[in-house]
């Protein structure tokens, strides 16, 4: 993706934010920060997968754990697809595995939110620097 002109600043920021949400690290990849992108992708994906490994995909629960689900949704829209798989209640999980699984998946989501905000902020800063040249 080429450098943005002054006219398309906001759409560019939206694209960066959307990509960063779709795939963790993609926002940084668009900004040509490959090392950041790889680290973010690996760390967040691994954290999320560890969460659903410990607690099973049953930890994704829009009905019984709305605040956790909102944090989990920050990972990627894939979480919504997983919720559609488990919404019939075929994968119940209780107790400590549920707690640890929810904590892992939700923290992964909140970390991705931090990365989304950072990617958008860096994109904004670069736009300002480009305009200042």
């Amino acid at each position: 993706m080429g450098p943005p002109s002054k006219g398309n600043h906001t759409p560019f920021l939206l694209i960066v934010g959307l990509l960063a949400w779709l795939v963790p690290g993609a926002g940084h990849l668009v900004l040509n920060e490959k090392r950041h992108a790889v680290i973010i992708f690996v760390a967040i994906t691994l954290t999320f997968c560890t969460g659903i490994y410990i607690g099973s995909i049953g930890v994704i629960n829009w009905v019984g754990a709305k605040p956790w689900f909102i944090a989990q949704m920050m990972n990627s829209p894939v979480v919504w697809i997983l919720w559609k798989l488990v919404e019939n209640g075929d994968y119940p999980v209780y107790g400590r595995p549920n707690e640890i699984g929810q904590i892992y998946t939700s923290i992964a989501g909140l970390l991705n939110l931090l990365c989304i905000v950072t990617a958008v902020y860096w994109a904004h800063l670069r736009r300002i620097e480009t305009a200042g040249d």
Binding site: R35, H36, I39, I40, A43, I44, L46, T47, C49, T50, I52, Y53, I54, G55, S56, I57, G58, Y91, V93, G95, R96, P97, N98, I100, G101, I103, Y104, I107, A108, L111, L114, C115, T118
Partner: protein, 83 residues
């Protein structure tokens, strides 16, 4: 679908058997590493492997030390209140 793929997917449909004991809290240590790694990735502008690792390890250690201190303070408070 291959047997391997089925096996991998199946591991994500059955929860692990983790008891409600103090040792289960050790599961939160990998989470600290993940938090420190991602946080440092958002803070460091130019990533060099050695520098990044050092920063992430320091932050991980700081969080763990702070958690231990907090736990000790809370245990002491609980002991003072209940004695």
């Amino acid at each position: 679908m291959s047997i391997l793929a089925t096996f991998v997917l199946a591991t994500f449909t059955i929860p692990e058997n983790i008891g409600s004991n103090p040792q289960s809290m050790l599961w939160l240590l990998p989470l600290v590493v993940a938090i420190a790694t991602v946080y440092k990735a958002t803070k460091i502008q130019k990533i060099k492997a050695a520098h990044f690792l050092k920063e992430a390890v320091i932050l991980t250690g700081s969080i763990i030390v702070f958690m231990i201190i907090t736990a000790l303070v809370l245990c002491t408070l609980a002991w003072l209140i209940t004695e």
